[in-house]
Structures are given as C-alpha cells and as structure tokens.
Symmetry: D2
Subunit: 293 residues, 4 copies
C-alpha cells in the first residue's frame, strides 16, 4: 500500500513557437508567440497506475494551439482565454489550467508592408489561470533594462560588523525590470493597457530622486495602479545591476562618476508585491509563475 499521495500537478506542451501572419491586404501584420499549455484536473491514475485515460496528449495541446491561431490572435491574453475555455469545456476532468505566452515584438522596416525587424527590448508575458469558475489574467514583461546616471543614492542603512559599504548621494541606478500585473477583469483592451503600463513604468523610473530601488519600484507600482482601474496587483523582481565607480587614483586620475565597471555577480535582488487597497488577493493564481515572491 502506498505511503504517498499526489498533490499539486500539471502537465502540457511548453514553448509552442507560433507565428501568425495576417495577409488579408498587402499590408501584412505579424504576431510572434511562444505558448505553453498546462492542464489541471484529475490525472491521478496516470501517475499511480500509468492509466492515460485522462491524459489529453501534449501533442494534442500543441495541435490545438496551432489550429486556434488560424482564427487570429487579437492579443496573447485573448488567445489564452480561448484555450482555457476550450480545454475546460471539452474534457470533463480538466478543471482548470495555466496557459501562458511570451510575445516578441516586431517593427516595420521603414514602414514597409511586409518586412519587419525584431525591435522590442523586453519580452511581453501573459498568463491565464483557470480554476473551476475562477479566471485570472496576469500580464507582464521582462528584459527591459533601465538606468539613471544620477538622482539616485543609498544612505541611512543600519551598520554592523560586516558592513563596509560607503553611503552615497550620487550613484548609477540600473535594473532589468521583470514585472507582472493582475487584472481584476477579463474585459480589457489588453494591448492598449500593456502599452500604457510600460510607458507609465518608464516615466516613473526616470522622474525624481531614488532613495533605494525599493523606493522606485513602489512608486512605479503606485503610478500604474492609480492610472489603471483594471489592475489590482503588481509584482516586481528586479536586480540591482551594480555599476561600480572605477578606482583610477593609482593612475593619478580623478573619477567623479564618469567611468564605471558594470558587474555581473553578485547583484542586489529586490522583489515586491503591491496590492490595490481593498482588493482581494489571488495567491493561488501566482503559484507556478517563476521568479516572484
């Protein structure tokens, strides 16, 4: 008799690289996604007995992604919502799942009708989590590196016997933004809100004096939630990409914050979650979204 129990589990097909071209007119459009489909439900017998009667093949999930792409991809979120509806309605024992996508941005070459180049530094992300009747949509991006050459400092921190860091009123602040935000509705113009959130974050980062990366991230969250009624929660996971002032004194040179060494490791890591006051949390929906506290 088994002394173990299967608890949380999910499975599916990861990283389906689907490119959709709209060519109804001479001016083509391109959408470039990396789609992952993971099903939740009653799959216990597959684990305990090797009985695959409930295991919708990952290959079938892949086929479905490509077949559905034929009908168009208005936004990653809308596409994933359709996948969620399909799998939970088609198979009784599929009670939920987690559908996610990365989107890669393309720009037209000199406004050309059918020639493009990949021109977006960040990767857009979208996740739809379905749990019975409950649907959660989480958008985000990663890979957007931002930097301020001044108007950043770090002072007033506690000192102990292992402290050697010197306080500074002027340093480079740099981070690579990874962020996710949770919508409180599925009735959203996802592409427009995405652009607005990204723009709001960039603007807020650039403004004012940063007393700590924590301080700046919180301001970015506040600005986004203030402007977007459809967003209830934001998470950040951001490295403090250290730029150390190069010590040029052995060579008789001063270095008033002009020459920096950009370090790889170790790096500071700042993670924070900000919730709209009074909003309901949705912790279960975040499980399995890697890399955020």
């Amino acid at each position: 008799m088994s002394e173990i129990v299967l608890t949380s589990n999910q499975y599916g097909k990861a990283e389906n690289r689907v490119v959709r071209i709209v060519r109804d007119t001479d001016r083509h459009e391109i959408t470039d996604l990396n789609v992952t489909s993971l099903l939740h439900g009653d799959f216990e017998a597959a684990h305990t007995e090797g009985d695959n009667g409930h295991v919708v093949p990952t290959d079938t999930q892949k086929n479905t992604v490509f077949a559905f792409a034929k009908d168009g991809i208005p936004s990653p979120e809308v596409f994933l919502l359709r996948l969620a509806d399909h799998f939970t309605s088609e198979f009784d024992w599929v009670t939920g799942g987690r559908w996610s996508a990365e989107e890669y941005g393309w720009s037209r070459i000199h406004d050309h009708d059918h020639a493009f180049f990949r021109n977006t530094p960040e990767t857009r992300t979208a996740v739809v989590v379905r749990d019975g009747d409950k649907t959660t949509v989480i958008a985000g991006f990663f890979g957007l590196t931002v930097l301020k050459t001044t108007q950043s400092g770090f002072v007033g921190y506690p000192k102990d016997k292992y402290t050697t860091l010197q306080e500074t009123q002027d340093r480079i602040l740099a981070t690579e933004v990874a962020t996710r935000w949770r919508y409180n509705t599925t009735d959203v113009d996802f592409n427009a809100v995405y652009d607005s959130v990204r723009d709001t974050m960039l603007s807020t980062f650039s403004q004012g004096y940063s007393k700590a990366l924590q301080h700046t991230l919180y301001q970015m969250a506040e600005a986004v939630i203030s402007k977007h009624d459809c967003i209830d929660e934001i998470k950040f996971s951001c490295p403090n990409k250290h730029h150390f002032t190069s010590d040029l004194s052995p060579f008789g040179l001063e270095n008033p914050n002009e020459v920096f060494y950009a370090a790889d490791r170790p790096y500071g890591l700042i993670e924070a979650t900000v919730l709209r006051k009074g909003a309901v949390t949705a912790d279960a929906a975040w499980v399995g979204i890697a890399g955020f506290c």
Copy 2:
C-alpha cells in the same frame, strides 16, 4: 493618500560565488557555491518613504556570506541554516528570509591531492526558508538528463478532433530531472541523503516499463520517500525531451527505432508534487522557488 499596500516582499544579494578550499593537510578539499541571501521582515518604510533604516545592505549580506565561509561549509544546508540564524537574530525587524545555494561538483583528477575537474552533470540546490520560529529545508538538483532507449510507451489516451499522435509501445523516454524535496527535520546528514536520493532516482528511472513520464516520476517519488524518513515531500518539473523517429522511408530505409531526431521545442512538461501520507504541507515555504507547481 496612497491607494496601494505593500504585501509580500524580499530583498538581498543574489549569486555570491564563493569557493572554499580546505587546506589543513596536503590533501585539499573544494566546495563551490553560488549563494543567495534574501531577507523578510519589516521593510515597508524603504518602499513607501525611501527610509533605509531597516535595510541591511545587500553588500553587508554578501560580506557575511564570505566571512562565514571562513568557518567552513560542511554542507550547503548547514551553511544556509547558519546564515538564517545570524540575520534573524542580529536584526529585530528581520523576521525570516530565504537563503539558497547552488553547488557545483568537483572530482579529483586521478585522485590528485589538489587538482580537480568539474565533473557532476547536475547542479545541487539547497534552500532554507525561515518564517518566525519555523524553519524549512528544501534540497534538490537540476540538469540531470536521463534516457531509456526502450521499455517506454504511451497508449490509452483520449482522442479528439485535434489528436494526430499515434500510440506507441516502444519509444525513447528522456527527461532532464529538476527536483526538490523537503525535509521534515534539520537533523540530517545532508550530503549523505543527497547522494542517496540521487541514486534512488536514477535506479528507479532505469527499472521497469514506463507507461508515461507521470508514471515514472511518481515511482521515483515513492522510492525516495520510502527510503528516507527525513523527507516528507518531493516536487518534479521535467520536460519530456522528445526524440522523434526519423522518417527514412523516402530513402528506401527502414527505421526500427534506431535513428532519432532530438527536438528542442515544443516539449512536454510534467510537474508533480508528492507528499508523504499524513505529512503536514508547507506551501508557504515553496513560494519563490521558481519553476515548480
């Protein structure tokens, strides 16, 4: 007045690459870690006001890691437990945290006293989560690729209009094992149990007929929990690394499972958590450990 609230947050210094040599005798020993220290506690003012009075600098955390290494690293888990004790006792407002490490394995070159080569395919992981009085230790590894050339099949799955996959009684089964297991105590010979878990997983993978990757992972979990009283929970996140039989028929050749194309993407993804029957779950401790459901 702010319409937002700070909820979960953590910060610290990530990826401190510390190498510790024991050279008390001519026969040296090497330990090679990548250590991340993340603090939990009352850091609200840093976010809302930019008041760093509670922000133990990430640089101080780094210094502490290197200073503590001087006293030796008996195992990653023991080293992280000491960091947890230090930070939570030294600073009143640090009520917990998450300390983690990767360990890279080295072997002696021809049993040499002080010459080594990196010879372990997998990366060992260790995490210590402290929350007030509660301490959780989670061990694991990733990057161990295993493969069976036969004794694996996939049949009996549901078919719908998007199903094109053919059933098979003989295929290659290959995966890259990423796994984490949770101890129910800190009184463990962590290095010995690590070796035993790894060995048990390899043995179980190789034995018997696999009806699905889910089936095999569950057997691996069962074997580990049966053999190790100190382990209460195991998670797997494993790609099904597809090896497709190459179609050689256009060239007049048969291919009875001899020539395969190893595909990159998409890939199946199987995630499962297995709990010792009657054991208490510890979901909070798993938050922030990326990539497991």
Copy 3:
C-alpha cells in the same frame, strides 16, 4: 629537447565591461562597451620556460582600458585604436594585437536628460587588428533579426535521392544578421557610417523578391559597398530561420501561409564574403574573429 614549436598565440583580458558617462552638462551621455584586449608579440619564454618577463599582465590591460575611458570614448573604433597605439608603443616586444569591443545601445526615456533604457536589438562590434605597421579596422553587428512575410521563394535547386523539399514561390524569409565589414582607412566617422550601413542593409533586405538567402545577402553587400567608399569587404554569417507552414489539414483547415511554426534546429546557415572589385584582401586580419568563413 623539445619536439614542438609555438606558432600563433595571443593573450589578454577579455570582456572588460566599461560604462562611460559624460556629465559635463545636465544632459548626460552614456557609452556602454565590453572591451577585449589581446596582445601579439614575443611571448615564447612564458610558454616554454614560464618566464613572464614579457607578459604584460592581463590585469594591467584591464586597468589601461578603464584609465583610457576617462578621456572619453568617441566611438568604439577610436577607443580601440588608442589602445593599439599604447600597447605597441609602450612595450618593444608587443608587435601587434587584436582589440575588440561590443557596444550596447541606449535610448533616452522620453527624451530625459539622465534616464535611459537599452533599446537596440543588435549588438555593435568593432575590432582593431595591428600587425607591425599595418592597422585594420573591422566593424559590424550581430543579433538583428529580420523577416519578410512574402516576396521570397526557393526553386530550381538540384534534386537527388535524398531530396524531399518542395519548391515554393512564397515563403517567410527570416534571418538574424551577423555581419562584419572592413574599412580601407582609419579616417572614418565610425558612428555615422555604422548607422548608414545598418540602414542600408535593412532597406535592401526589405526590397524586391528574394530567390535565396544567398541572393539577398549579396544584394545587401552590394548596396553597402556602393554607398560607402571607405568599406572594401563585407562578411555575413546568417541562419535561415525556418518558419514552417503548420499543417492544419487534419483539422479541416486551410493554411495559406498564415500560421507558422518557428523552428530552432536544425537551421540553414549561409556565410559569404564580398570584396570590392580590385581591393586588396586582408585575410590575416580576420583570423580569430569567430564565426565567419
């Protein structure tokens, strides 16, 4: 007595990550380089005897890079030329070398004075090769992914018993451009020419019908050499990033080049060198520039 001889060799410090801020006015400028310095000359005794009398330490090379950055970085090429002059004049036995850099592009956030984001898809490259009195400057970039949704085909190729590919008059053409071009002079406005070359390549890629990736690359080379008298030679190393039409017929759907699967491996690889008619080759300068035939 040794039965071997040391032939080609070089050494130095690789990947010095130097960031230079110009802050003479409130409107700051940023230059972000990854610099490698490799010396050529008489280093035989270091190899054969372990006599380091000629080995200018790689640490000294690093220090020199950061110290020189203090004087400004008008362009990667000019900065590298200065390094070449320094090392070959300072040390008698250093008869040449290879100095290279990657440059990462930053854009202002909303035209802000001191806030930036990394916004350039490609990485710019520069190499200065010095061999005695001869100096060669090679510029380039990698990582610029371009794609045409139509106006590309592949027909008329030879067929043998291993040919299964179908001819097509309409396919996606996509590649990630890696290119290097050699200047015939050091008297160049390197930043302006870089922008012009990149723009010329993008324009040429977008125009006309592509009969093969070879055909398109050759046209790109021709356009660049025609427009820029200072350039004598261009190399390309470009993957054919296959976008396969997804077979939707099992699901009763047509797919007139609308839904594609973007494959990872294998990929076509096209490499070509184009020389200005009558120009002198400089093969020795290309040795050690990885990844071009």
Copy 4:
C-alpha cells in the same frame, strides 16, 4: 555592372541533432551528435543571380545526415568523412566543405542495458575539412573546467604605470579548456585517441608548478604531441577563471587562501597554437573554426 566580387562562401544545414541507438542485442548503445554540413564550391550564381541550379538544399543535407546515421556512427570523425566523400563525389561543383559535429557523452545508469544519463562535462568536437583532394581532420573538446588549489603562481612580469597587480607564489589556477588538435592522417582510432588526449591533458594540468597559464598549456600540448604520433598541431583557447582571495580583514579574519570569490568578467584569455617540429601547417583548414587564434 557590379563593382563587387564574391570570395569565400559556404552554406549548409547546421545543428542536426541526431541520436543513434544500436539495439542489435539487449545491451543498447547510444551516440548523440549535433552535426553541421557546410558545402564549398561553385555557388556564385545563387548569390549574383538567384540561380539555385547548384544549391544542394540544406534540407537535402539534413536528410542525408539522418539517412547515413542508419548505417551507424563508429566515431564522429568517421561519420563526417563519409559525408565529405558523399557530397564531393555526388555533385561536380561541390569541391569541398566543412563537416563538423559536437558529441555529448552518456554513461550507463548502474551498468544498465538501456538506461543512460548524460555524464560527461566536456563536449567533444570533430571537424572534417575537404578542399579538393586534401582532407583535414580536427578533433577537440570544450567545457572541461579544471582547477588547482595550489602550485600555481604569477611573478616576474613587467610593471608600468597601469600595473597594480601583486605578485603571488600561491594562487588558484582555474580554466575551462577549449582545445582542438589536427591529425596528420585519417587512419586513426579516433575514439581511443580522444580518450588518451583528454587523459593526458588532465594529468599534465595536475602535475608540477604552474608559472603561468601559458606555461601549463604549453606543457599540455607537449605531452599530447609526444604521446600521439598522429597529431601534428594543437590549439588552446582558455580563460583564466580568476578566483580572488576574499578580503576578510575588515571582519578581523585572516584568509590564507581559503575563501575565494569566483569572478565572471573580465577574465584572462590565453590562446596558443603548438606545432610538431617539422610538421606542415594547414592554416586554411582552420578558417571558420570559431574562437582560436
């Protein structure tokens, strides 16, 4: 009229991931290769006119790789030699080419008949270059990280105004060996010699006192050439993976080479070519093998 000429060029299919299982008995064997086929010859019209009459499709090259795998893969070198023979004999205008492979090593799990795990730290490489009647075979590997905890120093180097490095008689020496060696014949037991070369390099690295990485690499080359009559030339491209002694003095601790910080960038880079005395060089064969001077 064109003002440009096509000079060197090659094309083909890169990274064909072919896995070959030998299952003639219950004790299976596995060979795991990543094969690239690049053709040389008369492909000018494809570039200048888009005339593909000579362009053996990269898809056909892929098919050939998989079809030939059916007949077995005794060693990567023998497999590549067969591809070279095929393409140069089958198509008049294909006058040569460059066929290369990476091989990934697998070990049996507890000596099991058909269960394996990937257990080799380094990646084996093989290249066959054919130019008319001339055939060159180059073997090698990369990714083998080795380290000595003592018996390494660096002294006696020249000092200038940019020198801050302190001499040391005792440091960690660590590198990740990338090496290629050229055979002077095709009549070789390639697998046996590979094992012997790798073993010789490891042994030599571990022995004696290293006065510089250059010194150690040269000794490794000498040992390999002395032992293997079939090898005429060896190249190394090896980073000096710096392990800096952590400064623990601010915390009142001594650090007699016990605690190290393993740095990422910048790193020393040492490249050297060693030739058997009296052997004929073969520079053309090395063109296009990335990353060696």
